[in-house]
């Protein structure tokens, strides 16, 4: 259970970092361009650490936890990003103008 939660946290941070590396998300969130190196590191290293943790579990369970926690962490990261972008939109007082595919 603890491994699952830590794996989920690692995935959540990695996916959040991945989103902050996308210019479209920065525009939606209204963030200044952050330092890219730590975000790149989080994005690349944390999923590997999560995989290492999952290796402590039995073989099929570890694989399923790694994938499953990525999915749920993705939902949680999206929820956080959405709250931030909705706040930003309210602050700016205009709807989203960013096209889906750049």
């Amino acid at each position: 259970m603890i491994i699952t939660l830590i794996t989920m946290a690692f995935w959540g941070i990695a996916l959040f970092s991945h989103a902050l590396l996308q210019p479209k998300f920065l525009r939606l969130q209204g963030f200044e361009a952050p330092h890219r190196l730590p975000l790149h590191l989080f994005r690349l290293v944390l999923p590997v650490l999560a995989a290492f943790l999952c290796c402590q579990l039995d073989f099929p369970e570890g694989v399923l936890v790694w994938f499953g926690s990525a999915s749920i962490a993705g939902l949680l990261a999206t929820a956080l990003l959405t709250v931030l972008s909705v706040r930003n939109m309210k602050r700016l007082g205009h709807p989203d103008k960013v096209p889906r595919s750049s």
Binding site: P60, E61, G68, G74, T82, V86
Partner: protein, 495 residues
């Protein structure tokens, strides 16, 4: 060239997704609930809440062995399930064509427990794998839908290939409705892509013999076996010379202990009876590979006849695929992971159906086919959850000693689903189709939020605030879904 491919894939995704989606929403919803089928059965037998988990005694096992033997003499085809952490009761069950139903016994002394007759969570399992229309056509439809899901996933990935990574977590609820739904559909589809591909693939492969019966070894891919469980087969079996004619059954407890020395301690979950033999069968929860290994004994003197284990690698691969799909080996966190993934899959597909309607509404809103499509979409997205809830309500509201109450509960499920379809048709073919969604959402929210009080009123409750059990888990999950439905209802009534 690339845009032409995307355009064609868009058409494929749209139509395969819509037609398959109508079935897949049922399959995913049913499968998610079937993840907790044992727990739901426990919830639907509130009489069991008075009995704490106790270890199985040899005396109890021998006693219900005799009861099962008596039932066999009367022409029934029972089997015994041993207590597990998920279901700490002894049960004698038989297959009624859709579910395994039967009586419950105390594992300590073997005395019967007067629990209400119910199909329990197995309805959802049946709905998941055969749409309650097995064993052939329903299974065939779900098989085809699983292949449709693989096609829809592949075409969806091709359509969004260019922006998959950059838009991975993109969700814009403040945008137009169509874009918000599209974001949600893509988001859930991408995040749960591994789960959906795995479930669709394993589901399709497990039952592949149904699609290609010419390669199977028997009826619907199962070897022809004299101990079929259907009611018709049962009658036939009684006419087989020598069947169930033995005078008595040797004590089961020594057989169980012997089988545990062969297959491992606490691994036996099922006791099956065949002509002249008793099989101590490995529980599905005992290992990842779902193998049904068993040790056979003579029913006359309890002598060991055979040890049957997975014969070869091909069967072992089949066991691995079953283990991945049915996940009966897993503990509670993994089951919740599967449950959440299944529900998200169901919501993702419902979102796809809604997007299909949004796309075609401007030009085809008044056509018969569009209104039919909207009717069916409402019936599967909001009508099915409503029917599931009605099933739980019916279980608690029907008298516990009502004859054929298991059938009546299932009828209540289908009647409510049919009524929701009728209601959806009335609204979709009327001037304000949006009301159909809204009204069903609000009814669902009301009944889901009231499930907790219903549970408290219809069973004896001890230590409500000091313990967390399966009853509270079901109640609170229903309350959670009720709150989500209430939120959707509030969004739908907003201008």
């Amino acid at each position: 060239m690339r845009d032409t491919l995307r355009l064609r894939m868009g058409w494929l995704h749209e139509w395969v997704g819509f037609i398959g989606g109508l079935i897949l929403v049922i399959v995913f919803t049913g499968g998610s609930l079937a993840m907790f089928d044992t727990e739901l059965t426990h919830w639907m037998q509130p009489e069991l809440s008075r009995y704490p988990a106790t270890p199985l005694s040899d005396e109890a096992l021998n006693k219900i062995g005799s009861i099962a033997q008596e039932m066999r003499k009367e022409g029934e085809n029972p089997f015994i399930t041993l207590p597990t952490s998920r279901d700490p009761m002894l049960r004698i069950l038989h297959y009624d064509g859709h579910a395994f139903i039967g009586s419950v016994y105390n594992p300590e002394d073997g005395f019967p427990i007067l629990a209400r007759e119910t199909g329990g969570g197995q309805l959802f399992f049946d709905l998941h794998h055969s749409l309650y229309y097995g064993p052939f056509w329903g299974n065939m439809l779900t098989e085809i839908a699983a292949i449709g899901l693989l096609i829809a996933v592949a075409s969806g990935v091709i359509i969004h290939f260019r922006s998959i990574l950059s838009d991975l977590l993109l969700f814009r609820p403040f945008s137009s409705r169509a874009r918000a739904w599209m974001d949600a559909h893509i988001l859930m589809g991408l995040l749960f892509l591994p789960f959906m591909v795995m479930m669709a693939y394993t589901g399709a492969v497990i039952h592949a013999p149904r699609l290609f019966p010419m390669f199977s070894t028997g009826h619907h891919g199962r070897p022809a076996h004299p101990q079929s469980h259907g009611p018709k087969e049962r009658k036939t079996q009684n006419n087989v010379p020598g069947a169930h004619k033995s005078a008595g059954l040797a004590a089961l407890a020594p057989m169980l202990h012997k089988a545990e020395t062969v297959l491992g301690p606490d691994t036996i979950g099922l006791i099956l009876f065949d002509r002249g033999s008793v099989s101590m069968t490995k529980a599905d929860s005992a290992s990842f590979t779902l193998s049904r290994d068993h040790v056979s004994f003579s029913e006359k003197d309890g002598a060991q006849i055979a040890v049957v284990q997975i014969p070869d690698n091909l069967h072992r691969i089949g066991g691995v695929l079953r283990g991945l799909h049915f996940v009966r080996w897993a503990g509670l966190p993994m089951r919740w992971l599967y449950f959440i993934s299944g529900i998200v899959g169901s919501i993702m597909m419902s979102g796809g159906l809604i997007l299909f309607l949004m796309k075609h509404r401007p030009r085809k809103a008044r056509t018969f086919l569009f209104r039919l499509a909207e009717t069916l979409t409402i019936a599967v997205t909001t009508g099915l959850p409503l029917a599931c809830l009605a099933y739980l309500w019916a279980n608690r509201l029907f008298w516990s000693d009502l004859p054929n109450r298991a059938d009546l509960e299932i009828r209540a499920f289908f009647i409510v689903w049919a009524l929701s379809l009728l209601h959806a048709a009335l609204r979709s073919f009327g001037p304000k189709p949006r009301r159909g969604w809204n009204e069903q959402c609000s009814v669902f929210a009301a009944y889901a939020l009231a499930l907790l009080p219903l549970d408290l009123m219809t069973r004896s409750v001890n230590g409500f605030l000091t313990s967390f059990d399966v009853y509270k888990a079901v109640d609170l999950t229903a309350v959670g879904f009720g709150l989500i439905a209430l939120f959707i209802h509030r969004r739908l009534v907003a201008p």
